[in-house]
C-alpha cells in the first residue's frame, strides 16, 4: 500500500515538471485530440460528412472574432458558433436542401464574416492567424486540460450512443424499425463535431481540423474489419501523426499544424499502398 503511494507520488512528481516543457504539452495535446478525432472522423467518413466538418470549423473563426469583440472566453465563442452552425446545417439538410450548396454558402460566409469582424479590432488581427493554422507549441496547461476534457467528453458521448449511432449510420430504416430516431443520432454527431472543433482550433487551426478528422480515419480503413477497429486504429494513426508532426516541425523548423497533417497524409499514402497489394 505504502509502496503504491510512493510510486504514484513519484510519477506525479515526474509528470508535473514535464508539463513545464512546451513540447511535452504539445505532444499530450495531440494525443488527447486524436482520442476524439479518431472515432468521430470515422463517422464523418461513413456518413460522408467531410464537408460538414469543414463548415463547422470555418464557422468557429467567426466565434473567435465574436469572443474577442465581447471579451468572452474564446472557447465559449467558438463552441457557441460551431454548435449554431452545425445545428443550422443539420436542420437545413433535413429539409431537403442540397447539402453541398448549403454548406458552401454557410461555411465561407461564416469565415468571411469572421475575418471582416476581426478587422474592426486592429490589435487582434495577428492573433487570428493562430486560429486559422493553430499553434500547438503555445498550448498552456489550461489549454491542455480543456483539450483532454473535451476529447474525453466526446469519446464518452460516442461510447454511450455507439450502438445506436452505428445502426443509424448503417441504415436509417433499420434504425427506425428498432425504435431508434436517426435525426437524434445525427444531432449527437453534430454536437460532438462542434465540441471537437472548439477544442482543436488552438492546436491544428480552423483550416486543418477537417484534415485531422478525415485523414487518420481514412488511413485506418484499409486495415480494419469492424467499425470499432477502424475507430481505434484512427486514434493510433492520429496520435502518431501528431507526435510525428511535432518531430518533423522540430527537425526541419516547419510550421507545426501543417507538419502534423503532412505526416498523416504520408501514413495515408502508405496505407493506400498496402490496400493495393
Amino acid at each position: 500500500m505504502g509502496r503504491t503511494t510512493i510510486t504514484t507520488g513519484t510519477t506525479t512528481a515526474m509528470i508535473i515538471p514535464m508539463l513545464d516543457d512546451f513540447l511535452v504539452r504539445a505532444g499530450l495535446a495531440a494525443v488527447g485530440l486524436s482520442l476524439a478525432t479518431g472515432p468521430l472522423g470515422s463517422f464523418v467518413i461513413w456518413r460522408r460528412m467531410a464537408y460538414f466538418g469543414d463548415a463547422t470549423a470555418h464557422a468557429a473563426v467567426l466565434g473567435v472574432a465574436l469572443a474577442l469583440a465581447t471579451d468572452l472566453p474564446i472557447g465559449l465563442g467558438t463552441l457557441t458558433v460551431a454548435l449554431a452552425m452545425a445545428v443550422t446545417v443539420a436542420g437545413l439538410s433535413a429539409r431537403g436542401w442540397a447539402m453541398d450548396t448549403t454548406l458552401g454558402v454557410l461555411a465561407h460566409s461564416a469565415l468571411a464574416f469572421g475575418l471582416v469582424a476581426v478587422s474592426f479590432f486592429p490589435n487582434v488581427r495577428t492573433d487570428l492567424s493562430a486560429y486559422l493554422f493553430g499553434d500547438i507549441l503555445a498550448v498552456s496547461r489550461g489549454d491542455l486540460a480543456l483539450v483532454w476534457l473535451g476529447a474525453l467528453a466526446v469519446l464518452a458521448l460516442l461510447a454511450w450512443r455507439w450502438q445506436r449511432l452505428l445502426t443509424a449510420t448503417v441504415s436509417e430504416d433499420l434504425a427506425h424499425a428498432a425504435g431508434i430516431r436517426p435525426d437524434r443520432e445525427r444531432l449527437v454527431l453534430v454536437i460532438a463535431l462542434a465540441l471537437v472543433v472548439a477544442v482543436a482550433l488552438k492546436i491544428v487551426g480552423a483550416l486543418l481540423i477537417a484534415a485531422m478528422l478525415i485523414i487518420p480515419a481514412a488511413a485506418a480503413r484499409s486495415f480494419a474489419r469492424t467499425p470499432e477497429a477502424m475507430a481505434a486504429l484512427a486514434i493510433v494513426i492520429g496520435a502518431a501523426s501528431g507526435l510525428g508532426g511535432l518531430a518533423l516541425s522540430l527537425w526541419q523548423d516547419t510550421p507545426t499544424g501543417p507538419s502534423i497533417i503532412v505526416v498523416a497524409a504520408g501514413l495515408f499514402a502508405l496505407a493506400s499502398l498496402r490496400q493495393q497489394n
Binding site: 450502438q163 445502426t167 427506425h176
Partner: protein, 260 residues
C-alpha cells in the same frame, strides 16, 4: 376475424403524399398476432411506402398508425446499401442494435443458410446472401412481427421455397406475425393467411381463396398467372363494391411484367 383481439399494428384511414402526389389513399389495415399477411400489387402501387409508413419512416398526411407499445419489429428492407467506407463483418452487423452472443449469431446464420459466414464483409455479399443476413438479424431481435419487403427477390427457387418454410416455422415457434410484400403470386397464395391487394388504395383483401376469385384481383393480375410467363396488365376500370370510392387517376398504368 374477432374484433377484441389487440392488433400488433394498425393503420386507420391513412393517406400518404409525396408533394402533391397522393401515393396511398385511405388505407386501413390491422395485423393480429401470429397471422401471415401479404401485400400484393404492381410496381409503383405503394407497397414499400405502406410498409415504411407502418414503421414510422414515412409520415402519414392523414389518418393514424398505432403500434402496440414496445412492439418488437423484425424489418427486412428490400435492399441495404452500406457505404463501402465502413468495414463491418456479418457477425458485427448481427449485433446491431442489440448485442447477441456468438452462439446466437451462428444459430441465426445457420437457420437462414449462411452458416459459418460471420467473418465475411457485408459489402462483399451477393443480393441473396444479404437478404439471408438481414433475415437472420431480424430473427435475432425475437420479433413479434416480421415486416419483409420482397424478401425473396434475390433468392433462387429452392432458396425461395426454403425461405417460406422458414417463415412458417418461425411463426409456428414464436407466434410472430408476418407482414410481407411480394409480387410472386403462387407462393404468396400458398403461404399467406390473408392477402391485401394494393394499388394506391386497397383494392380487395381476404383469404387467398377469396382474393384470387375477386374481380379486382383479376383485373390487377389477369387470369393467366398459372403460365410460366404471365404478362399482366392492369387498368383502372375495375368496379368497387365496398362503398364510395372514386378513383379516377388521370394516368393509365400499363405494366408488362414478365413473371418467371
Amino acid at each position: 376475424m374477432s374484433l377484441p383481439t389487440p392488433s400488433l399494428i394498425a393503420a386507420d384511414h391513412i393517406c400518404i403524399r409525396f408533394g402533391a402526389d397522393e401515393v396511398l389513399h385511405d388505407i386501413s389495415l390491422t395485423v393480429q398476432p401470429g397471422e401471415i399477411v401479404t401485400i400484393l400489387g404492381p410496381n409503383g402501387s405503394g407497397k414499400s411506402t405502406l410498409l415504411r409508413a407502418l414503421l414510422g419512416i414515412v409520415p402519414a398526411a392523414e389518418g393514424r398508425i398505432t403500434r402496440q407499445p414496445g412492439l418488437r419489429i423484425g424489418y427486412v428492407p428490400q435492399k441495404l446499401t452500406i457505404d463501402r467506407t465502413m468495414p463491418i463483418t456479418v457477425r458485427r452487423f448481427l449485433s446491431l442494435p442489440s448485442r447477441v452472443t456468438d452462439a446466437q449469431a451462428e444459430e441465426a446464420l445457420a437457420r437462414t443458410g449462411m452458416a459459418g459466414q460471420g467473418a465475411e464483409q457485408m459489402t462483399t455479399l451477393s443480393g441473396g446472401q444479404l437478404q439471408r443476413v438481414l433475415l437472420a438479424r431480424a430473427l435475432l431481435g425475437r420479433p413479434q412481427i416480421l415486416m419483409l419487403d420482397e424478401p425473396t427477390s434475390g433468392l433462387d427457387q429452392p432458396g425461395e421455397a426454403a425461405f417460406y418454410r422458414l417463415i412458417e416455422e418461425v411463426r409456428h415457434e414464436t407466434c410472430a406475425a408476418v407482414l410481407m410484400i411480394s409480387h410472386d403470386l403462387h407462393v404468396v397464395m400458398a403461404a399467406s393467411d390473408r392477402v391485401i391487394c394494393l394499388n394506391g388504395h386497397i383494392c380487395c383483401e381476404g383469404t387467398p381463396r377469396v382474393v384470387s376469385t375477386a374481380p379486382e384481383y383479376r383485373a390487377l393480375f389477369g387470369l393467366g398467372t398459372q403460365g410460366a410467363l404471365a404478362l399482366y396488365r392492369h387498368e383502372h376500370d375495375h368496379a368497387h363494391e365496398d362503398g364510395p370510392h372514386h378513383h379516377h387517376h388521370g394516368h393509365d398504368h400499363s405494366h408488362d411484367h414478365p413473371h418467371a
